[in-house]
């Protein structure tokens, strides 16, 4: 638990304290658990996606345009989040803030589109209780959306801490970990994009 006093300047700051290193490794292990969590939701979705009962088929309601906008918002946010870490490693606090806030705004945009999408579906007669397929859709996509929401809140908390304390081995480790989380949500979205939306539309239109 001892803080290392000597800073190895070749090492990014987030790895310079023992706590930082432990936390980053621990968070990777947590991401392993998240893989299992989302896999289970994906499995549920894949098993249930044809079971639409009296409700609309899944692919019927999906739209390419909204999907593309959402995907680009999230992909870009993952990129800007990476730039934020890049700036942090150059000890550029301003750059870190600029790119992180961009990331948050893009994330909020993504969430806005997702909520709008949900409202459209509900309006067209598909909600969580419509059929097994729609239950699986709303819970899978909704869980990802909830993760994004929590991620935004969490990054804001950490930015406040950076503003108060500057870049220290502790705050940088926190920023780095939150960036891992954000990139991971993008990874999950890639699979949502493929397994839910693209597959749904392929199945629908052949």
């Amino acid at each position: 638990m001892a803080q290392s006093k000597v800073r190895d300047l070749n090492t990014p700051m987030e790895y310079q304290s023992e706590t930082g290193r432990l936390n980053i490794l621990g968070f990777w292990l947590f991401l392993g658990a998240e893989i299992a969590l989302f896999s289970t939701l994906f499995a549920t979705y894949m098993v249930l996606m044809d079971r639409t009962a009296d409700g609309p088929a899944l692919g019927e309601l999906f739209e390419v345009k909204g999907l593309l906008i959402q995907t680009f918002l999230l992909l870009t946010s993952s990129f800007t989040c990476g730039l934020a870490i890049h700036e942090m490693r150059r000890y550029n606090v301003k750059g870190l803030f600029f790119w992180m806030i961009t990331t948050i705004l893009l994330g909020l945009g993504f969430l806005g589109f997702e909520i709008y999408e949900f409202f459209v579906y509900i309006h067209e007669g598909a909600n969580i209780g419509t059929s097994a397929a729609w239950s699986a859709f709303f819970v899978l996509v909704g869980t990802h959306g909830l993760h994004v929401t929590l991620g935004i809140g969490w990054i804001i908390l950490i930015l406040i801490q950076v503003a108060k304390r500057g870049l220290t081995p502790q705050t940088t480790a926190k920023v780095f970990i939150s960036s891992l989380y954000w990139h991971f949500l993008d990874v999950v979205w890639i699979f949502l994009f493929t397994a839910v939306y693209l597959m749904g539309m392929v199945m629908q239109h052949g």
Partner: protein
Amino acid sequence: MANHAAAQHKGIPWKHVVGFVLSIVLTLFAIWFALETDLSTNIKLLVIFGLAIIQAALQLLMFMHLTENSRTQGFSGRIQIGNILFGFFVAIVIVVGSVWVLSSGHAEKKPTNGEHEMKMDSGSMNHD
């Protein structure tokens, strides 16, 4: 004092830019392939899932620095890679396994096709 560390991270972060461009291209290609070609559904699914896995790997390696943390102390990088690979194994087992188990034998048809026997005799399920 920070010059040395900063030197490594100067200028345009090419790794990120390349990763970003690739992810956009892969996404657009997946959409085009899925919706605009006339290949069979199976081939489409195979290709788009292949693209998704490539894109996930891009994120992990280019953005998330998966292999980092190995030179600083012990073998954290290796642990992280092993952890993600095992996660990949578990993910395949959960998804492919569930679909396979629940779509073969008596379970293969859904009840709307008049095959109501698909709802298994729940009395026989009390297995441990």
